[in-house]
């Protein structure tokens, strides 16, 4: 999960994207990532999000999701970050995250939850090509305009992210190979 740069297209959403939209409970009798990935963001309101997140064949063109506030609110299901990762998303950039979603992303070693200081949903639009650079001061920038926006450093969870998730982190502490 620990990567220095991520380059790809963005999918832009708004506030309060809930776990029922990210992966509806009707798919929760499996933890099979390949199945979950085919239903990622399936219940986003199509009236609000005219461009579907997934292509008709179930593939996904986006490596980065950009959201406003409280991304991942609702259920504790780890299926949510797993579904996004399986679809091909490597990072979600939002102003704030719902706490369980955030913890699942980090502790599961699944996907990078990146907090932006600014509202980036006005800056980027779905389909834009951007680059996230996590070396030194983390930034997200447009590949066309080269305008860069700051991302908050990870703080205390950095060690868990670098270990690849809570399991690897704990095993290191416990001395389990």
């Amino acid at each position: 999960m620990s990567r220095e740069t991520i380059r790809g297209r963005v999918y832009v959403v708004g506030d309060n994207i809930d776990t029922d939209a990210i992966i509806p409970a009707r798919y929760m009798s499996t933890m099979d990532a390949s199945v979950l990935g085919k239903h990622a963001m399936e219940d986003l309101d199509p009236n609000q999000y005219k461009i579907p997140f997934l292509n008709p064949d179930g593939s996904c063109d986006y490596k980065i999701v950009i959201a406003r506030r409280n991304f991942g609110c609702g259920s504790s299901r780890e299926h949510a970050p797993i579904a996004l990762r399986a679809a091909g998303v490597e990072a979600v950039v939002a102003q704030t995250f719902a706490r369980i979603y955030y913890r699942n992303s980090v502790n599961g070693g699944i996907i990078l939850p990146l907090e932006s200081t600014l509202d980036l949903t006005d800056v980027f639009k779905t389909g834009d090509e951007v680059e996230i650079d996590l070396r030194s001061l983390p930034i997200i920038q447009s590949c066309v305009k080269r305008q860069a926006y700051p991302i908050k450093p990870f703080g205390p969870v950095k060690d868990i992210i670098e270990a690849g998730g809570l399991t690897a982190y704990n095993k290191k502490i416990l001395g389990i190979a």
Partner: protein, 436 residues
């Protein structure tokens, strides 16, 4: 600096005198709750990564509830895996108590744990379900966690937390008869928004809260997550101790005495620091409804004009407790659900189901045209036993009304108190319970 109850509990659990909001700590975990649909990978993780060994100091309570009795083959397998794990771990000597469908004593996790005596004031409790924050009603620090976290808690008996700031909601005055704790919570989340308490502990204080029953307190702490909170908490008092004393979970006399003494000291200091304080006059509350598709989309029920309903649902960890049925029963007694309305009654535990029958309340609902199901989370999350078709409208005593939450993405869920759900079932459209 003086401390809140949440800070005191977390400090004790990391062996410190005090902790401060914002710092990251490794906390001992007293109890881990496991249910059917988030445990399969927890079990696999423990076996694969940690030699299948549960930490000896950890208490595990298994309460399968979401898709039981088996909704389909896939969920039957999830239940089978959990049951196999419980049997195996019990044989290995792990401290694991399970309430399985076999034997008929089971139900929705967040009502089962308190009602079976597995929640003690001052404990740290986590579970693979977002509404694990419920147990704060008894003065425990409790919060929902994910699959990877639960697997690690099983192995280590501990978990990292960022110590939350506390948001105090001080409620005083007498609530009108037609108003329930659900209305009070909706009022708060309507004011602060679904991320208004993000990462924070919601601490409820005041005369109104002290006078509430444990069931009603549980509604307040249960829904903390709907305001983005990490936990909800209410300081324990004599009523809390009495509630716990009446529950059967085994505990030695000596331990019991120490917990009771402890509970007396479990209060926020008077000059503790809060990130925010909100004061509410309970006598000014009225029946409220959260409109689709957010729990914060709150409006007085009286302002809704002729919203016809297809389904009225009384159930779940939020609104399927004993007193929720007593309250709804008062409204429904001698009356009938309107033509064309499905009235679904889903007791959250088999004990509550027994009480419904024994008290005669069963017939109040039955004669009103209700259909009963076995205890399950079922339709609350669009699973089964009451899933909505496209275009259908449901008024529900549950906790979430996100798009597609209870069924088809084009169905609609309005959240309300059990009394308002009952009143609406009779009317056939959404109407607040009358103040009578």
């Amino acid at each position: 600096m003086r401390q809140t109850i949440t800070e005191k509990i977390l400090a004790r659990h990391c062996g410190r005198d005090r902790v401060s909001p914002g710092e990251t700590i490794e906390s001992k975990v007293d109890v881990l709750m496991m249910h059917d649909i988030t445990s399969s990978d927890v079990i696999k993780l423990l076996k694969r990564e940690f030699g299948n060994r549960i930490h000896p100091d950890l208490k595990v309570v298994a309460t399968p509830d979401h898709y039981v009795p088996g909704k389909d083959i896939a969920s039957a397998i999830l239940y089978q895996e959990l049951k196999g794990f419980v049997d195996e771990q019990q044989a290995l000597g792990a401290d694991i108590t399970a309430y399985m469908v076999e034997g008929g004593d089971y139900g929705v996790c967040h009502v089962m744990l308190p009602s079976k005596g597995h929640v003690i004031p001052g404990q740290v409790i986590v579970g693979g379900d977002s509404h694990t924050c419920t147990y704060g009603a008894l003065g425990a620090f409790s919060t929902g966690i994910g699959t990877t976290e639960a697997g690690n808690v099983l192995a280590t008996g501990s978990l990292w937390f960022r110590v939350p700031e506390s948001f105090k909601i001080d409620v005083n005055g007498e609530m009108p008869k037609n108003v329930m704790a659900k209305d009070l919570f909706l009022r708060v989340v309507g004011d602060v928004g679904v991320d208004g308490c993000l990462y924070q502990a919601m601490e409820w204080t005041g005369d109104t809260i002290r006078n509430m029953s444990i069931d009603e307190k549980m509604t307040l702490t249960n829904m903390a997550i709907e305001a983005g909170a990490k936990s909800g908490i209410i300081e324990p008092d004599g009523k809390t101790i009495e509630y716990r004393r009446a529950r059967q979970a085994p505990m030695t006399q000596e331990n019991w005495r120490s917990w009771c003494t402890d509970a007396d000291n479990l209060k926020s200091d008077k000059d503790a620091t809060y990130v925010n304080v909100k004061e509410i006059n309970a006598s000014g509350l009225e029946p409220l409804v959260a409109k689709p598709h957010l729990p914060s989309n709150v409006t007085p029920a009286r302002e809704l004009n002729n919203i016809k309903i297809n389904q009225a649902y009384i159930g779940s960890c939020t609104g399927g407790k004993w007193e929720d049925f007593v309250a709804a029963g008062e409204i429904l007694k001698g009356r009938k659900a309107a033509k064309g309305v499905r009235l679904l009654v889903v007791p959250s535990t088999s004990d509550i189901q027994d009480r419904l029958v024994a008290s005669g309340l069963y017939f109040t609902f039955k004669n009103a045209g209700a259909v009963f199901s076995a205890p399950t989370c079922g339709a609350c999350l669009g699973g089964y036993m009451g899933v909505l078709a496209p275009g259908e409208v449901c008024i529900s005593s549950t906790n979430r009304n996100f798009r597609g939450r209870m069924g088809h993405p084009n169905s609609e869920v309005y959240l309300a108190s059990p009394k308002t759900v009952a009143a609406s079932a009779i009317a056939g459209y959404i109407i607040g319970a009358k103040n009578e």
